[in-house]
C-alpha cells in the first residue's frame, strides 16, 4: 500500500547568520490508517518534524509528499487548502475561538471553504461531539468548558473535514491522567472507525507504548523506529 506521508532527505536549518541545524537527513514514511507516536527530549527536533509534515514549516532541503503530492514546493494558498482538506491539527493548547460555541468551533474548518453548512455536515458535527462526549456542552462558549472538554472540542474540530491525517503535538500535555486516558481512547477509537492516520508527539512513555509505532528523535536524527 502506498504511504500516505513520505519524507525524503529532510534537513532543517534555522537562522541566517548563526545557523542551527535541527534536522539531519530524515527519511521517514507513514502508512495509511497507522497510529504512530514520536517521542524525544525537548529540543530534539520532533516538533519541527511534525510541523514540516503538517506543511506549517518548510524543510531547508529534502522532499515532502502528502498523499502522493509533493508539498514543499506548493504555494501558500495551495498549502492552506491542502491542510484544510487532508490534515487535522491538535496542539497542546486547544486554541478554540473563545467567541464561538463548541459546535461552531468544530464546524470552523469546514466553514473556511464552505460558508453554508449542509445537513449532513451538521449531523457529522453532532456525531463528533457525541463521540467526544460533548453533546451536553455543544452550545457552550469555548470559555465555559473544562480543560478536558476544550481539548476534546479541539479533537472534534480536527476531524470535521474527515482528514486522512491527524497531527497531534502533545495533545494531552495540559490534562490530568484520567482525562489523558480518555482522550487517547477517543483518538484510538477514531483511528479504528475512520481509518485516520495519526502521528502523535508525546513525552508520556505509557501513551507511546499504546501506539503501533514509536519513533524516537534524538538530536535531529531518528534514533529508534519501533513497529509493533
Amino acid at each position: 500500500m502506498a504511504n500516505i506521508i513520505e519524507l525524503k532527505q529532510i534537513t532543517k536549518v534555522y537562522g541566517e547568520k548563526i545557523k542551527t541545524q535541527v534536522l539531519f537527513d530524515i527519511n521517514l514514511s507513514f502508512e495509511p490508517s497507522s497510529f504512530n507516536s514520536i517521542i524525544g527530549e525537548s529540543g530534539s527536533g520532533k516538533s519541527t518534524l511534525l510541523n514540516i509534515i503538517g506543511t506549517l514549516d518548510k524543510p531547508t532541503t529534502g522532499e515532502v509528499y502528502i498523499d502522493n503530492e509533493r508539498t514543499d514546493t506548493l504555494s501558500k494558498i495551495d498549502l492552506a487548502k491542502l491542510r484544510n482538506q487532508t490534515m487535522g491539527f491538535i496542539f497542546q493548547f486547544h486554541y478554540l475561538l473563545p467567541e464561538f460555541t463548541a459546535k461552531e468551533n468544530v464546524l470552523m474548518p469546514y466553514k473556511i471553504y464552505n460558508y453554508k453548512v449542509p445537513k449532513e455536515i451538521d449531523e457529522w458535527a453532532d456525531e463528533l461531539l457525541n463521540l467526544t462526549g460533548l453533546t451536553k456542552v455543544a452550545h457552550n462558549l469555548a470559555t465555559d468548558m473544562s480543560g478536558g472538554q476544550q481539548q476534546r472540542t479541539a479533537i472534534a474540530r480536527a476531524l470535521i473535514n474527515k482528514p486522512k491525517i491527524i497531527l497531534a503535538d502533545e495533545p494531552t500535555g495540559n490534562l490530568d491522567s484520567d482525562t489523558t486516558e480518555n482522550v487517547y481512547a477517543i483518538l484510538r477509537d477514531i483511528n479504528e472507525k475512520y481509518k485516520t492516520t495519526f502521528i502523535i508527539i508525546t513525552h508520556d512513555q505509557r501513551i507511546a507504548e499504546k501506539t503501533d509505532r514509536i519513533i524516537e528523535v534524538k538530536d535531529g536524527r531518528i534514533n529508534l523506529d519501533l513497529k509493533k
Binding site: S47, N51, G54, L56, D57, K76, I77, A80, K81, L82, R83, N84, Q85, F89, F91, Q92, F93, Y95, L96, L97, P98, E99, F100, M108, P109, K111, I112, Y113, Y115, R157, G173, N174
Partner: protein, 386 residues
C-alpha cells in the same frame, strides 16, 4: 469571506468595552470634524452674504471716453444667454450729483436701475423701512442716514444739483436701510429714466450688473461673459478680482479648517489602528490556529478590515448625530442679544455625507495595518509550545 465577517462580528461583540471605546473615539472625531467644518462653512457663507451677497458680483463697465454704454439692451441680453449661472442682470445709470438741503450741500451718488431687476441684487424692498419703490419719473428713495441728515420725510421733495448744472426736484417715495452707512448716506436710488434725465445720459447706461449662482465661480463666468459680449468698448469685472484680500482671508480660513479636520481624522485613524493592532496580538493564537486549519491569508486580513468597516460605520452614524447635537446646541446657546445665533449654521448634506464616508474610509485604512500583521502571521510562530 462571510466567515471572516462572522468572526469579525464576534470579535467586536465579545470585546464590548473595547468596541464601545473605539466607536466613541471615532464618533467624537467625526462630530468635531463635522462641527468645525459646518461652523467654518456657516461663517464663510455668512461673511460672503454680508459682503458680496447684496452687491453685483460681475459688472460690465464702459471703457469709452464718455463712460457710457449705448447698446446696453444687447449687453443685457448677451449676459443672460452667456451662462445659466448668471442671474439678476440689471442695467445701471450712475453718476455723481449734489443734494441741496436747508443747511448744506452734500455730494450724492445717483443710482438709476430697472428697479425690479436691481432689487434682486441689492434687496431694496427688504431694506425699505418706509414708503415704496420709486417707480415713476422723478421719484427717488434715499437712505436712512441721508434722510436723518437732511431731515427728509416720505413725500418730501429734495433738490438735486446735477454736474451739468441746473436743478431737479424729486419726490422721495421711500426710505431704505441697507445696513452699510456709506450707502445709506450717499445713494439716491431711482428708476433708470429719472437717473438718465438727471445725469443727461439720454438712453445710455453706465454699467450692467449681475450676480451668479455660485459666487466663487464668478471669475470663470466673467471670462465666459467677456468672450460672449459683442459690444465694443466695455470691460467685465468680477468681485474676486476686486476683493483679493477678502478672498485670501477666506482661503486662509478654509485651509486652517481643513487642517483641523485632517488632523482630527488622523487622530481617529491612529486610534482605530492601534486598538485593532492590539487586538491582533491578543488573538494571535486563534489566528494561528485558523491558519493551521487552512484559512487563507487574505481572509485572515479581511477579519480586521471588516472590523474596521463596522467600527467606521457605527462611529460615523453616531458621530454625525453627535455633530448635529453639537451644532444644535451651538445655535441655541451661542446667541446674539437678539436671540439669533452668532454664526448661522448651514447644514450641508453633501459635506456631512462626505464626512461620514471619510470616517468609514479612515477606519478601513486604519484596519489595513492590523490586517497586514494578521496576514503575515505565521501559524508555527504562534502555536509553538503553547
Amino acid at each position: 469571506m462571510r466567515l471572516s465577517f462572522d468572526i469579525a462580528l464576534r470579535f467586536l461583540k465579545s470585546g464590548k468595552g473595547q468596541t464601545l471605546l473605539i466607536i466613541l473615539g471615532i464618533s467624537v472625531g467625526v462630530a468635531v470634524q463635522l462641527f468645525i467644518g459646518s461652523l467654518i462653512q456657516g461663517l464663510q457663507i455668512n461673511l460672503i452674504n454680508t459682503t458680496i451677497g447684496s452687491s453685483p458680483q460681475i459688472t460690465i463697465s464702459p471703457t469709452n471716453t464718455d463712460k457710457t454704454i449705448t447698446d446696453w439692451q444687447r449687453a443685457l441680453y448677451e449676459a443672460k444667454i452667456s451662462s445659466p449661472e448668471i442671474i439678476n442682470v440689471s442695467a445701471a445709470a450712475d453718476g455723481p450729483a449734489s443734494i441741496d438741503y436747508e443747511k448744506d450741500i452734500d455730494p450724492v451718488l445717483i443710482r438709476g436701475f430697472v428697479l425690479e431687476d436691481a432689487d434682486q441684487i441689492y434687496g431694496f424692498s427688504e431694506g425699505l423701512y418706509e414708503g415704496s419703490l420709486p417707480l415713476k419719473k422723478d421719484e427717488v428713495m434715499i437712505g436712512r442716514d441721508l434722510a436723518v441728515k437732511s431731515n427728509t420725510q416720505i413725500n418730501d421733495k429734495i433738490i438735486l444739483l446735477p454736474p451739468s448744472g441746473g436743478e431737479i426736484r424729486a419726490k422721495v417715495t421711500g426710505l431704505f436701510d441697507l445696513k452699510i452707512s456709506s450707502i445709506n448716506e450717499s445713494w439716491i436710488v431711482t428708476n433708470l429714466e429719472t437717473a438718465q434725465d438727471i445725469l443727461s445720459l439720454d438712453d445710455k447706461v453706465t454699467g450692467v450688473e449681475m450676480q451668479v449662482k455660485e459666487v466663487f465661480s464668478a471669475d470663470v463666468i466673467s471670462k465666459e461673459l467677456a468672450h460672449t459680449l459683442s459690444i465694443k468698448d466695455v470691460k467685465v469685472d468680477n468681485w474676486k478680482d476686486q476683493n483679493q484680500q477678502l478672498l485670501s482671508g477666506l482661503n486662509g480660513q478654509s485651509v486652517s479648517s481643513y487642517m483641523i479636520q485632517v488632523f482630527v481624522l488622523v487622530a481617529v485613524l491612529l486610534g482605530i489602528s492601534s486598538v485593532l493592532a492590539i487586538s491582533v496580538v491578543q488573538r494571535s493564537k486563534q489566528l494561528g490556529i485558523l491558519k493551521a486549519m487552512g484559512i487563507q491569508d487574505r481572509d485572515a486580513s479581511l477579519i480586521f478590515v471588516f472590523q474596521g468597516l463596522m467600527l467606521g460605520l457605527l462611529g460615523a452614524v453616531l458621530g454625525i448625530s453627535l455633530g448635529f447635537g453639537l451644532l444644535y446646541s451651538f445655535t441655541k446657546f451661542a446667541v446674539n442679544p437678539d436671540g439669533t445665533p452668532v454664526v448661522p449654521i448651514y447644514i450641508n448634506y453633501s459635506f456631512i455625507g462626505l464626512s461620514g464616508m471619510f470616517a468609514i474610509l479612515s477606519a478601513m485604512v486604519a484596519s489595513l495595518i492590523p490586517a497586514r500583521i494578521s496576514s503575515k502571521l505565521n501559524p508555527i510562530e504562534v502555536i509553538k509550545n503553547g
